[in-house]
Subunit: 196 residues, 2 copies
DNA sequence: GGGAAATCTTGTCACCGACAAGATGGCAGC
DNA sequence: GCTGCCATCTTGTCGGTGACAAGATTTCCC
């Protein structure tokens, strides 16, 4: 029978601690960035003891890798949705940037391998899935290039959206950008594909 | 008279501790990234007590802000040199990426405001100087755009080089890129300005 | 040459991540 | 329906870290 503890109403087993910890991590990172993240703080937010997270993630790098994996999966879902709906590489790019802003905590962890547990299977799979999504997006180009050109086209498209998103998140871009993020994204990406 | 301490030869005053700590920080960050940086480790590397760094930088955020400022100054110097020598925006972009790789430790700290002491005067000035350099680089374009077009041109150029550099540093780019980083950079940047 | 100020040290505190050992309770198999 | 296994969670502990305080040493400047 549960809840014999001093803390009223809280059963010994949390129920879904793993999910609660990941949600708490998103919250904490949105508040103060991934550098300031503390496992003990997450445990407090979830109402469990300071050592509870260990069982689910091993260590801090394990938790961040799991969070990154969740991020890559959300990311692939979102971009696939946009691709099926619009079939436009520019719109996928706009979605890339919007994802970074709307899922800031996930995004800030996804591309920081120094924070991840090495050889994290779930993360590797999720990252691969997201990569596949981007490659499929490139194929939507009407005059899809081939050979070396295709490599450079892919790299430049990825670079421009990733750079814009990163600079925006770091607060490096001028404030006017905030007023119309999608519009600015479209204009910036458009310059890469403009026929001129 | 100096060197009465147990540690032979080491005077009480270091001489140039500030510079030594910044150099140690570069070394430490190159080894294990900015997240793993520890002030006490830097103090050990410099051969001083664990509290010595406080006087020069206030706290950890102060040290990282100083390192970022140093980075922005090196960065502006390097890009100005390239601009004067080549007058080419593409080459400035290649230099941007090469700087990120060759001064990885500095670069990884420069665009991470969450790590910086807020309102750090030296950093603000250095960042402004670097921004000025980039703007001057844009003006080298033969058909330099004006008005809103100029804003988007600047944003897209900055985004593409910054994104490429960031992805490369994070190990997200395929290994072939390593073989010819400058060539790949040029090809990627070239797609943005290609007349097509 | 003497005192003020800069520089560095020692000592301490709260917090953190990791680990170990034990408590709790769900659950499968009988 | 009971029993034992095992996932889950707690408590306790250790070394390391950042920040601060107070004191020691040295330089600098008048």
């Amino acid at each position: 029978m549960g809840a014999k503890n001093a803390a009223v109403g809280r059963p010994y087993h949390h129920g879904d601690l793993r999910r609660a910890l990941l949600a708490a991590a998103v919250e904490a990172i949105e508040e103060s960035g991934p550098a300031a993240l503390s496992l003990r703080d997450l445990a407090r937010r979830a109402g469990v003891s300071h050592a509870a997270p260990t069982h689910h993630f091993g260590d801090k790098a394990g938790l961040l890798a799991a969070l990154a994996a969740e991020g890559f999966n959300l990311f692939a879902d979102e971009l696939n949705r946009i691709r099926e709906r619009t079939g436009s590489l520019v719109e996928i790019g706009v979605g890339y940037i919007r994802f970074a802003v709307e899922h800031r905590a996930h995004f800030e962890v996804m591309f920081r391998p120094d924070l991840h547990a090495p050889d994290h299977a779930e993360l590797t799979a999720a990252r691969e899935r997201a990569g596949e999504t981007l490659r499929a997006g490139l194929a939507t180009l009407p005059d899809a290039p081939t050979g070396a050109d295709a490599r450079f086209a892919g790299l430049s498209a990825w670079s421009i959206v990733h750079g814009f998103a990163t600079l925006y998140l770091n607060g490096a871009l001028p404030p006017e950008v905030d007023a119309d993020l999608d519009g600015t994204s479209r204009a910036v990406i458009g310059r890469l594909f403009a026929p001129r």
